[in-house]
């Protein structure tokens, strides 16, 4: 059994690069949890923003987390490499 990969994508619904990350993962058949931060409200939104700031120091998107590898922005090579290394 291959190694379990946990993939999470923090996104904004207005951000085209976020859509591209999701498209890439869909094309590769990768299961992932997508969090559209601008659709969250109240404490939940604040808590998730806190997570993103802890990971990147910023509040910009997309942020893709592959196990504990963090990729900021739409960097397909970095994402694919992290997926390969984590498998």
């Amino acid at each position: 059994m291959g190694c379990l990969i946990v993939v999470k994508v923090y996104a904004l619904t207005t951000c085209p690069w976020c859509k591209k990350v999701k498209q890439l993962l869909d094309e590769k058949g990768i299961n992932y949890q997508a969090v559209d931060v601008d659709l969250l409200i109240g404490d939940e939104q604040n808590q998730v923003l806190g997570e993103v700031e802890k990971l990147t120091g910023k509040r910009s998107f997309p942020v893709t987390v592959i196990n504990d590898v963090v990729v900021e922005g739409f960097k397909s090579e970095d994402i694919l490499e992290a997926l390969k290394n984590e498998q």
């Binding site: 904004l12 619904t13 951000c15 085209p16 690069w17 601008d38 509040r59 910009s60 998107f61």
Partner: protein, 124 residues
């Protein structure tokens, strides 16, 4: 004589040498916004030239890119679409990939206006 004009989009003053009169159209050299002189007395007052949202943001990013010598990446239309969504939801053309809808993030955002594209190769 230099006239000082305030740009309401990037909130910066810029100097204009030629004489100004009411209704005159200007381009902000910092952010590419199309402005119009609203008054010259007692002081110079400018406003955004009335345009449809579509005209305004396309005009601004095209003008800004020309001013800086930048070219657009593959996703230009989707980025503009994202900004128009932000305009509808939050009232201005905030960066579609930043969470905070604050004046500094009105496109072209402060980081981009201060040369981030030269450092990173692209805005955000």
């Amino acid at each position: 004589m230099n006239n000082k004009v305030y740009c309401p989009v990037c909130r910066v003053n810029f100097l204009v040498r030629e004489p100004l009169e009411k209704g005159k159209e200007l381009i902000c050299p910092v952010c590419g916004a199309r402005l119009e002189i609203e008054a010259t007395e007692p002081e110079i007052k400018s406003r955004k030239k009335p345009q449809t949202p579509d005209e305004e943001i396309n005009d601004r990013v095209n003008t800004f890119a020309k001013l800086k010598g930048y070219v657009f990446g593959e996703n230009k239309d989707e980025v503009i679409e994202g900004m128009k969504q932000k305009k509808e939801r939050y009232g201005d053309f905030y960066c579609p990939c930043r969470f905070d809808n604050v004046p500094e993030n009105i496109c072209p955002c402060q980081e981009t206006r201060m040369g981030d594209v030269r450092k990173n190769g692209n805005c955000l």
